[in-house]
Amino acid sequence: MKFNSWYLSSFLISCFVLIPIITVFTSFFESTSNYYEILKNTFLIEYILNSVTLLFSVLLLTFIFGTGTAYLVSFYKFPGSNFFKWALILSFAVPPYIYAYSLTAFFENYGTAFTILKNLFGDANYNKSIPKFDGMLGAILSISFSLFAYVYILARASFLYQSQNLIDLGKNLGFSKFKSFYKVILPSARPAIVAGLSLVAMETLAEFGAVDFFSINTLTTGIYNSWIYFDDLAFANRISFFLLLFIFSLFILENLSRRKAKYHLNSGGGFKQKEKIKLFGMEAFSAFMFCFIIFFISFLFPLSQMLYWTLKFPENLFNLQIVNLFFNTLYLVTLSSFVLLFFSLISNYGNRVSKNKILNFLSTLSISGYAIPGVILAIAFITFIAWFDNSIVKSLGFTSIKKIFIGSILGLVLVYFIRFYSLAFNGIKSGYEKINISVDESAYLLGYSKRKTFMNIHIPFLRNSLLFIIILISLEIIRELPITLILRPFNFETFATTAYISASEDLLEAAAVPSLFLILIASLFIIFTSKHILRETNE
């Protein structure tokens, strides 16, 4: 009986998370409007090319920034290396859309760069000589500098695990530093780097704020336009379908490299704590500069631009109910983390005790919510609720349930749940993988019930993973934009929505205050937990 209830609950959780994907796919074969014809003849290829360009440029940049910095801080000692070790994660505090505001504010005609040049060299038309980072280039930079930390964290964790033996191997073969990096160190960290890059890829394809701000036409914009302006949900879903196929292949790639990562970690035996090599002179300076420039551009630059604007237009500071926004954000973070952890634990445990293949497949599929752009998730959720309400609830004679789910905190938390379920699920799963199944068996032999095993043995074991997951979820929700924007209740704003709304009304200066607070809060959060982020990943 116990077996059945665990099984059933994890089955239900997986099914719930799958709802939006099913909603998208069911309308795949419906007829489309003439928007499809027009688009096919004009921009469809461009949309696809834009998505691909964006994706691969971001992957390339995050790879260089992420592995480069991770390599330097893991293998070498140079001025500031201990500081950069955690400071580089601060870039997580700046979401791509706020980065986009900063880029525009600084480089636009008569922007901050213009002011600086004018103050330094006097009046002249500098506009033409200031490079313009907007459009595609702007989006690539915004997303790359905001997301490279994924690659950094995972690559660093993997580098730390590399045994001194491996480095000695390179040395013994007479390799130069650079050669042993790409011949020995890089290949053995490959699975971790690929895992980091596939996270970046999914976030890039799901990105809404920055892409919307620079109005680049990607597949995601195509979906949004055909749904919003042509009322062509079928075509929107058709594009989503292709996007999802693409994302699923990334997903499989990620899963495969995870498996390999495990293999590498298990190779064990003869692990020797490695010593960091001390750098001197030019080498030390170059290593410092590389890390500093990336830290500066990814974090200090957007922070100071937002700070500058807040000081330049201080009236915006007093127009904002900061305490209120703070508590709204906190409320969402607390509630969602709680719900996510609770249900991910149940479904993970259900998977563990039932060892059912179908269930395993379902839960693997259901974590794909993370890869679906928030805009699509929110839309699919509303579509589903409307359908469910009209065709089931009302026909049974009940009153409408729409208001309970659309425009309520409940609805918001549910969609967050679908979106971030994979973070929680995978996090707990990897924690569980460290607990040998024989532990469970011994517990049963000792007469522990399944529940007691779960509460008294698994939870304490998983404590570190759980904390790490809470950190990740909180950062995601503080930055989250499209879902909050579409589904939030009346008179409910967060720092993210306030910033976006001001920016979309061409009031970038007013967007600076909420952006600044968002960065500060997320940074504090990162600083207080950085030890944990770094420790957990190298355990």
Binding site: Y110, N127, S215, Y229, I409, S504, A510
Partner: protein, 342 residues
């Protein structure tokens, strides 16, 4: 203790959904601080609470549509007649904005029984007086933007922008879809760069010498001149001049911010009261002085910044019904997309 907190959290989830009060629910796509100030003034005068959900027009409309008859929305307020018209065409609005006060305040072509304009803006041409001669501009019209003499000299924002869609919709209404399709191709051929940035960015592109003429709304220049955007932009704004097109014909293209009454509105009476309030001289003056729009009603003058720098004695297009903007929205986007307007 923990349990109590969790239970409280969960109950507030549900309670917040069912609060009943003397209120009006506004789906709001205008996000000016000035508007928020007006709403709180309305609340203190009438005791009616204004609940806001802010967002971009497209997403707000979708939410109203999906919520259907159960929508909590009373009023939909947005900065484009085309969006109000499109909602009307889809059947999600209801009649009722027909009180004496509304009819007396708003000219006929700027309202229907389902939605009314609450403030006006014109979409005009900005030019660099250094690089554009009076002769070139003489008799200039929107139609003239496709003239090859502007090749490589024009900037205008993307085709997905609502103001552009309404402008092109009005051209379709006046000249037909076929002629407008040709026109759009001409405009695209004249562009100095691929469309990007907001209206203010177009004006600054002219100031910075990237282009000679730009199309943008009236209030942006006033906003820049006001110094609210900083000293640099104030300087930049002085480098461009405003030109009102189609003065020899039907007049300059006008658009409005509009308030629409949503079908099934649970607080219909309060919604009408709010619209009436927004049309009072005090509210209108508040709009003109803060957002630099043109007033909807007679007897209120635009901000001195607008009057002094843009002029007042221009002929507005009062002939083209604003309801046509909504009707031709999809056709407008189709025409622009087909022309390769990004």
């Amino acid at each position: 203790m923990k349990k109590i907190t969790i239970i409280t959290l969960i109950t507030t989830l549900f309670v917040s959904t069912f609060a009943i009060a003397n209120e009006v629910n506004v789906f709001n796509a205008r996000h000016y601080k000035a508007d928020a100030e007006l709403y709180s003034k309305f609340t203190s005068m009438t005791g009616i609470k204004v609940n806001l959900i802010n967002g971009k027009s497209g997403a707000l409309e979708k939410r109203i549509i999906e919520e259907g008859a159960d929508s909590s929305a009373d009023l939909y307020i947005t900065a484009d007649a085309g969006r109000c018209g499109a909602m009307d065409a889809k059947g999600y609005l209801q009649g009722g904005l027909t009180s004496k006060a509304i009819k007396a305040a708003v000219p006929k072509s700027f309202r229907t029984s389902k939605w009314v304009g609450i403030a006006k803006r014109a979409r005009i041409i900005y030019y660099s007086p250094e690089r554009v001669t009076g002769a070139e501009l003489s008799g200039m019209s929107y139609e003239g933007l496709a003239d090859p003499k502007w090749k490589g000299r024009l900037v205008i924002r993307k085709s997905s922008n609502i103001y552009n869609k309404s402008l092109v919709a009005s051209l379709i209404e006046n000249n037909g879809k076929k002629a407008t399709a040709e026109w759009a191709k001409g405009v695209v051929a004249n562009m100095a760069r691929d469309s990007k940035g907001n209206d203010r960015a177009q004006i600054m592109a002219v100031a910075a010498g990237e282009a000679d003429i730009a199309v943008a709304n009236t209030y942006y220049l006033a906003l820049m001149l006001s110094g609210k955007k900083g000293a640099e932009q104030q300087e930049a704004a002085k480098k461009v001049k405003a030109f009102f097109p189609n003065q020899n014909g039907r007049g300059t293209h006008m658009n409005v911010s509009c308030a629409a009454l949503v079908k099934g509105a649970p607080n219909k009476d309060n919604a009408v009261k709010l619209v009436e309030f927004l049309l009072t001289p005090q509210s209108q003056e508040h709009f003109t002085n803060n957002t630099f729009e043109f007033p909807m009603i007679d007897g209120v003058s635009p901000s001195p910044l607008v009057v002094n720098n843009l002029g007042l004695d221009f002929q507005q297009d009062m002939k083209t019904k604003l309801a046509s903007y909504g009707k031709n929205q999809a056709a407008a986007l189709e025409v622009m997309t087909a022309a390769g307007w990004k």
